[in-house]
C-alpha cells in the first residue's frame, strides 16, 4: 500500500540494526536498538496492525531500553576487544547463502492481505468455517465491542491472554527471587560492614 514509506522505514531499520551490532559502546548499541524497535512499530502501523505497533512502541522502544541501560550501568560500558575472526570468507559465504535461502523461501509466501490465499479462504481447505472470517463477522454481535482485536484477545482467545499474564508474572517472580535480597542476608552484610568500619 505505502511501499515508499515501508522501504524508507526498513532501510533505516537495517541501518539501526547494523549500527547496534557494530558499535563498541554498549550505550550506543542500546539506544540504536530502541530506534530499531520504534521503526518496527511504525512499520507495523503501516501494515494496519495498530495494536501490535502500539505494544512494540511502548515495550520495545520504552521499557526494554530502560532495562538494557540499567544492565549496562551495572556491568560494563564497552564490549571487550575482539580478535580478528578466522575463516572470514567461508563465514560470509554461509551468511549470504542463508540470506538467499530466506529470500527464496519468502517468494512462496502469499501476498499480504490476499483474500484468495490458502490461509484466508472461507470455507477453509478442510471445509470448515475460517476462524478469521468468523471473528470479523461476529465480533461486534457477540461482545458489543467495536475493536475486534480486544474481543479476540480477551474473549475468544482468553486462554492465550491468561497464559501470557502467567508468563509475565513468572518472569517478575523469578527476578524477585534471584535479585531481591532477604532481610537476614541484608542484616548479615550490614553487620559485616559495621565490623569493617570499626
Amino acid at each position: 500500500m505505502h511501499w515508499e514509506l515501508e522501504i524508507t522505514l526498513l532501510i533505516f531499520g537495517v541501518a539501526a540494526a547494523w549500527l547496534s551490532i557494530s558499535t563498541r559502546s554498549l550505550l550506543t548499541s542500546a539506544v540504536t536498538l530502541t530506534v530499531f524497535s520504534f521503526l518496527m512499530a511504525l512499520s507495523f502501523v503501516t501494515m494496519g496492525a495498530i495494536d501490535v505497533g502500539f505494544t512494540e512502541a511502548v515495550v520495545g522502544a520504552g521499557v526494554t531500553g530502560i532495562f538494557i541501560i540499567i544492565a549496562i550501568f551495572k556491568t560494563a560500558r564497552q564490549s571487550p576487544e575482539k580478535p580478528e575472526p578466522r575463516l572470514r570468507a567461508p563465514r560470509l559465504a554461509a551468511l549470504l547463502l542463508f540470506g538467499a535461502l530466506l529470500i527464496y523461501g519468502s517468494t512462496g509466501l502469499p501476498d499480504r492481505g490476499d483474500a484468495n490465499a490458502l490461509l484466508h479462504r472461507d470455507p477453509s481447505a478442510a471445509g470448515t468455517v475460517n476462524a478469521a472470517s468468523y471473528y470479523i463477522q461476529n465480533a461486534y454481535e457477540d461482545a458489543a465491542t467495536p475493536n475486534m482485536v480486544t474481543v479476540i484477545l480477551a474473549d475468544y482467545r482468553g486462554y492465550d491472554t491468561l497464559g501470557e499474564e502467567i508468563v509475565i508474572l513468572a518472569a517478575g517472580l523469578i527476578c524477585f527471587l534471584i535479585l531481591r535480597t532477604t532481610r537476614e542476608r541484608r542484616e548479615r552484610e550490614r553487620r559485616k560492614s559495621d565490623r569493617f568500619n570499626r
Partner: protein
C-alpha cells in the same frame, strides 16, 4: 548506577509529565474497546510513568508515588482478577472464561455482559503488567538503593 547529577530541569519535567502519562495509560486501558490499545499497552504506559520518576529523581522520592513493596503484590492481584473472572463463570454454571455466565451485575446479559467482563480482564492485565515491570526495575536496582540508604 552511576552518580546521579541532580538536575532541577529533569526533575521538574519528569514530575510534571508523569501524571499525564499515567492518565493516558488509564485512558488506553479503559478505551481499549473502541480504539487500539488495551490492558497490556496501558499497563506498560502506567509502568513507564512510574519508571520516569524513578530514573529522574531516584527511588527515595519516587517511593512517595509508588512504593517498592507494591509491585509484586499488584502483579499477583492483576493475574488473580483475570483468573477470578474465568472462575466466576465456572461458579455460575458455565465454562472457564465463558463471559456469558459472568452474572455479577444484575440486568446485564449477552453481549453487554461479555463487553463488561472484557473491561474487567483488561484492568487485570493492566495492573499485572504495571506491577511486574516496576518490580523488575526495582529488583534490578535493589543493591544500589540499599547502598544509598546506608
Amino acid at each position: 548506577m552511576k552518580e546521579r547529577d541532580e538536575s532541577p530541569i529533569v526533575l521538574i519535567v519528569s514530575r510534571i509529565l508523569s501524571p499525564f502519562i499515567m492518565l493516558f495509560g488509564a485512558y488506553v486501558i479503559a478505551h481499549g474497546h473502541y480504539s487500539p490499545g488495551g490492558g497490556f499497552q496501558g499497563g506498560a504506559m502506567l509502568a513507564a510513568s512510574v519508571l520516569l520518576v524513578r530514573l529522574a529523581a531516584g527511588s527515595r522520592i519516587s517511593e512517595l508515588q509508588f512504593k517498592r513493596a507494591w509491585g509484586t503484590p499488584l502483579g499477583i492481584a492483576g493475574v488473580s482478577l483475570f483468573f477470578g473472572v474465568g472462575l466466576a463463570a465456572v461458579l455460575f454454571g458455565g465454562q472457564f472464561l465463558n463471559h456469558e455466565f459472568f452474572h455479577l451485575i444484575p440486568g446485564v446479559t449477552g453481549p453487554m455482559l461479555r463487553s463488561l467482563s472484557i473491561l474487567v480482564i483488561e484492568v487485570g492485565v493492566g495492573l499485572a503488567v504495571m506491577g511486574i515491570l516496576v518490580s523488575i526495575y526495582d529488583d534490578l536496582l535493589e543493591e544500589d538503593e540499599r547502598r544509598e540508604d546506608l
